[in-house]
Amino acid sequence: MSTFQQTLFVARKDLLLGWRARTRTLAVALFGMVTLVLFSFAVAADGEVGVSAAAGFLIVALLLSSILSLEESFRLETEDRALEGLLLLPVDPVAIFYGKAIANFVLLVLLGPVLLPLTAIFFSLELDGANLLGMALLWLLAAAGIAAPGTLYASMTSRVTGRDVVLPLLLFPLTLPILMAGVRSFDLILRGDAMSQLKGWTLLLAAFDLVYWVLCGALFSRTLEE
């Protein structure tokens, strides 16, 4: 079995587990919704204030939800020492990383159809076809930028005491460039791009995605060594 096939196998396994534990997966989406509601109350975000803050709220809701999703993906692996079982199989660690990162990426992307319409409703956003296409593309890039380092860090923190504290502590600062570029890009789509800055911010987002996916994939096998 090639590394690519192994990657797909691991991703399929994780997505299947996510599907079988649907209530837990749905709880992550529900958490994202609650976060959006809290934000809208925290700053009384209606009218122009809401439109200007919507991009930030959306990406922060994704980031906060991702913590639950990432912790869940490795909770299953550490319970009953399933990860050790996986490592005993002739599976390349690179395939384990990319398989799990792809599964986490898909789960984060699936939050989009829940959180995007809600954001549009709560913050009175005017969306048309072109806006939606741009936002969908940015959502993919933002989810990818969180999924790769999140998978690597979740694999480490799932095996330490105080995992609930350490994962956000490590992941949030690392994803701040993603947050910054994502928020700016979303905002430019929503409120107009008078100075043609969208391309630059989107490229920055894509560049961070590339660096994180390559670097985390290269380092993951070292975190599994005991």
Partner: protein, 227 residues
């Protein structure tokens, strides 16, 4: 080796005293900012040596993953801690300068933001270390986390060229008067020497703590034989 490190540290302290004296009392005040600009003689060296210590940390992390030798992990701890301390000092100095010059303690300018991210990233690696009890795992994971955290360092340095920023672009000897360059360079070498001394010191402490962490099998066996 220990005496060499201490000598370097004492030389660093001496240079820092000389550099600070020259910066405060000999160098002329800057034309527009006046005496406030004198903070540059510690702020810029703090930034340079802070970034250098982050680079040392990244090199030690790669060396540990490459060789698996504990001494690289010991040095990694030292470099991480010193880069966090310098990163914190850098932010405080920048805020003091910003309050006087810009009229605000903080603004979400790209240089300030990336510097804050760098501080949080390396502090996060230290936090990770404190939560992992098994030494081999702790060393490997902190090396991995350090290499990933280092992604932000080039961004801190180059962001003022890549993005519009309130923070000025790096100066060069051609754009700064020689009377201002001298205290700047003395303090930069001073901080470098002090940083090397502290890293070596911290590495030695870490090495000794690792020795103390080892399970006392031999003592138990000897005790059994004596008994």
């Amino acid at each position: 080796m220990r005496n060499v490190a201490t000598g370097i540290g004492l030389l660093g302290i001496l240079l820092l005293l000389v550099g600070s004296y020259v910066g405060l009392f000999v160098a002329p005040p800057e034309r527009h900012m006046g005496d406030v600009q004198r903070i540059m003689y510690v702020h810029v060296p703090t930034a340079w040596i802070g970034l250098l210590c982050s680079t040392f940390a990244m090199i030690f992390a790669v060396a540990y993953l490459w060789t698996g030798r504990n001494r690289w992990d010991d040095r990694l701890v030292g470099a991480l801690e010193i880069s966090v301390i310098l990163g914190g000092l850098l932010l405080v100095q920048g805020m003091l300068w910003g309050r006087v010059t810009w009229g605000i303690w903080w603004t979400w300018d790209v240089r300030l933001t990336t510097s804050l991210i760098m501080f949080l990233l390396f502090a996060g690696v230290l936090a990770l270390r404190s939560f992992v009890e098994e030494p081999l795992r702790r060393a490997t994971w902190s090396s991995v986390a350090t290499i990933i955290a280092y992604v932000d360092v080039p961004l801190v340095y180059f962001c003022v060229r890549w993005f519009r920023s309130l923070h000025q672009v790096q100066s060069s000897p051609e754009t700064v008067h020689s009377s201002m360059i001298i205290p700047l360079r003395i303090n930069a070498f001073a901080m470098l020497f002090i940083a090397i001394w502290l890293i070596a010191w911290r590495a030695r402490i870490e090495s000794k703590s690792r020795g103390a962490e080892r399970p006392p099998e031999r003592i138990e066996i000897q005790g059994a034989q004596n008994g």
